[in-house]
Subunit: 291 residues, 2 copies
C-alpha cells in the first residue's frame, strides 16, 4: 500500500486521510471477538464512563491480547504512517480501544492529541500520527469522530486541563478558539467533517488535528481502535503518566505480513499476566534522549 | 395549507411530517431577534444546563413575548395539526424554546412526550401533537432531533423517571426497549431518522413518537421552538406541575392571518410582568373535565 501524490497533498491540506473498508469483515471479526473479554477485565487499563460500567477506553491491549498485538504490527496501518511521517522507525506511544458504548458513550471534547503529549509527556515535536480503525459501522447516530480540516497546520494550541466533564482527563481547547477554527475551515460548509463508513475503515490523522466526538444515544456500539505512533527519535522525555497510557518502550515496530490477522504469527504479550508494578511508577523528571 | 392524502398516510405510518423552510428567513428573524432577551431573563421559566449558564429550555414565552405569542397562533402551524388530529379546538399545553447551545447543549434521552403528560398531568389520551420549528439551521453536528419511525403506534410505553442525567426531569424509556423499537423500525437502515434543514423548517410529530437528541459540541446553536397542542376536550386533569410547564388555560386558540409574523396584529401577553403566584401552585388532586 503506497499513498499517491494526491493523497499526500490531501493529508498536507486537511490533516487526515480516510480509507473505507481497509480491513475485511473477516479481519475485523478477529478483533471484535476479543473486545468483550478485554472490557470485562478488572484491570486499571479499563477506564469506565462516569456513572456506568461501560468501558470508555481500554489501554495497551497490544501488550496482552494477541489479535490487537497483531494489529499493532499490521503493514496496512504502519506503512502509510511511515510514508507520511518520512520515518521508518516508529514506536507505539499509545494504544486504546474506545468503547463509545450504545446509549452510554459520552463525549470527547475538542482537543489535539499532541497538546497532551507535549504538556504531559514532553514529546519534543508532533512527529507522531494517530490512526483510528473502526470495529463497528460508524454513522451519524453513534458519535462519529469529528475533525476541523486544516487545523493541524497551526501546531500545538493553548489548552486547559479538563478534569470534570468526563471520566478521563483531557487538555481541551476553548470554545472561542474552536469557533474561529471552524469558521476558517469553511464554517457550515466543511468546517467540521465526520468520516463515516463500515467496520474495517481506517482514518489516519495528524497529531495536531483538532477533533472531538459527540455522545452515543443510539443502540449501536461504536468501538474503535486508536493507535498513536511516534518517531523513535521523537520519543517522550518524561514519564509523568502511567506506562499503559504513555508507553516507555521505544523499540521500533517490525511489521508482520499482510495476512497477519488471518494466519497465526507469533507475537510477544509481555503484560498477559497483568501490568508490571513499574508501569504505575511516574516521575516529573526529564529524561535524556535515547541513543 | 392543506395536507395531501399521501402526507396523512405518511404521518399515520411514520408518526411525523417534515416541512423544510416552511417559514421565511424574514419571519424567522422576528423570532430569533427575541431569543437573547428571553434567555437573559432571570425568570423560573428559564431552565439552565447542568454546570453552565446556557439556557436548556425556556417555557411559556407565548405568554410574555409578542413574536412567540404570534407564532402560537400561526395558521401554517395550527391548521395541519387540526387536520391530522381531526379537532378544531386546540389549546396550548406546553410551549418551549430549547437552546441546545453551541458547545454546551446536553442530550435529551429517549422519551415520548405523552408518557410525561399521562404520568404527571393525567392527560386522558394522546389527542395532542408536537410541533418543532427550527430557529437555526439543523445539521448532523448540532444535536438534531432523532425519531424512531412508527414508534407512535405502540401508544404510551413504560418509562422511568430520570432525575439525574440532565438538568430537567424526564420520563425516559429503557435501553432494551429502544433497541427493540429501532430494530423493528429498520435497524441501521431507517430505524432512526433525524430531519435536517434550514431555519424556518417545521416538524409535526405524534405525541407518542419516541425521540431523543444528542449533545451539541459544534459552534452552532440549535434553537428550536417546541409547541405541544392538545384537543380542548382532552385537557389535563391534574395540576401536579407548575403552570408554565403544563398550562391550565384551555381556551381554544384562534389563528391570526398568515402574514402575522410580518405585520402587527394585537396579541395578549398576560405574563408580561412576570408569572402569577398561582402558576407556581401545584396539587395532586384530580380535577373534573371542563364543560
Amino acid at each position: 500500500m503506497k499513498l499517491t501524490p494526491d493523497q499526500l497533498a490531501q493529508f498536507e491540506r486537511d490533516g487526515y486521510l480516510f480509507f473505507p473498508a481497509l480491513f475485511s469483515p473477516e479481519e475485523v471479526k478477529r478483533l471484535t471477538d476479543e473486545v468483550p473479554r478485554l472490557y470485562a477485565m478488572e484491570r486499571p487499563e479499563n477506564v469506565r464512563e462516569k456513572g456506568s460500567r461501560s468501558v470508555r477506553t481500554n489501554f495497551a491491549a497490544h501488550l496482552y491480547s494477541k489479535p490487537f498485538a497483531t494489529l499493532a504490527r499490521h503493514p496496512r496501518m504502519i506503512e502509510p504512517v511511515r510514508q507520511v511521517l518520512g520515518e521508518d522507525q516508529l514506536y507505539m506511544h499509545q494504544f486504546k480501544i474506545n468503547g463509545k458504548a450504545a446509549f452510554d458513550g459520552d463525549v470527547w471534547q475538542w482537543h489535539q492529541d499532541y497538546g497532551t503529549w507535549l504538556a504531559d509527556d514532553l514529546m519534543p515535536a508532533p512527529q507522531a500520527m494517530n490512526v483510528a480503525i473502526f470495529l463497528d459501522e460508524v454513522s451519524e447516530f453513534n458519535g462519529p469522530l469529528m475533525f476541523i480540516p486544516g487545523s493541524h497546520r497551526l501546531g500545538a494550541l493553548p489548552a486547559g486541563h479538563d478534569l470534570t466533564t468526563t471520566s478521563y482527563p483531557l487538555w481541551t481547547i476553548d470554545n472561542q478558539a474552536i469557533a474561529t477554527l471552524v469558521e476558517k475551515a469553511g464554517g457550515r460548509r466543511g468546517g467540521i467533517v465526520a468520516p463515516k463508513g463500515p467496520a474495517g475503515s481506517m482514518i489516519m490523522f495528524h497529531s495536531c488535528l483538532v477533533h472531538a466526538s459527540s455522545s452515543n444515544l443510539s443502540p449501536w456500539h461504536r468501538v474503535a481502535v486508536y493507535l498513536s505512533l511516534c518517531a523513535v527519535g521523537n520519543h517522550i522525555r518524561r514519564f509523568k503518566r502511567v506506562e499503559y497510557i504513555a508507553h516507555r518502550d521505544f523499540t521500533p515496530i517490525e511489521c508482520l505480513p499482510d495476512d497477519c490477522l488471518l494466519r497465526d504469527y507469533p507475537v510477544e504479550l509481555p503484560w498477559a499476566n497483568g501490568l508490571p508494578a513499574s508501569a504505575l511508577e511516574t516521575s516529573l523528571e526529564e529524561i535524556e534522549a535515547a541513543a
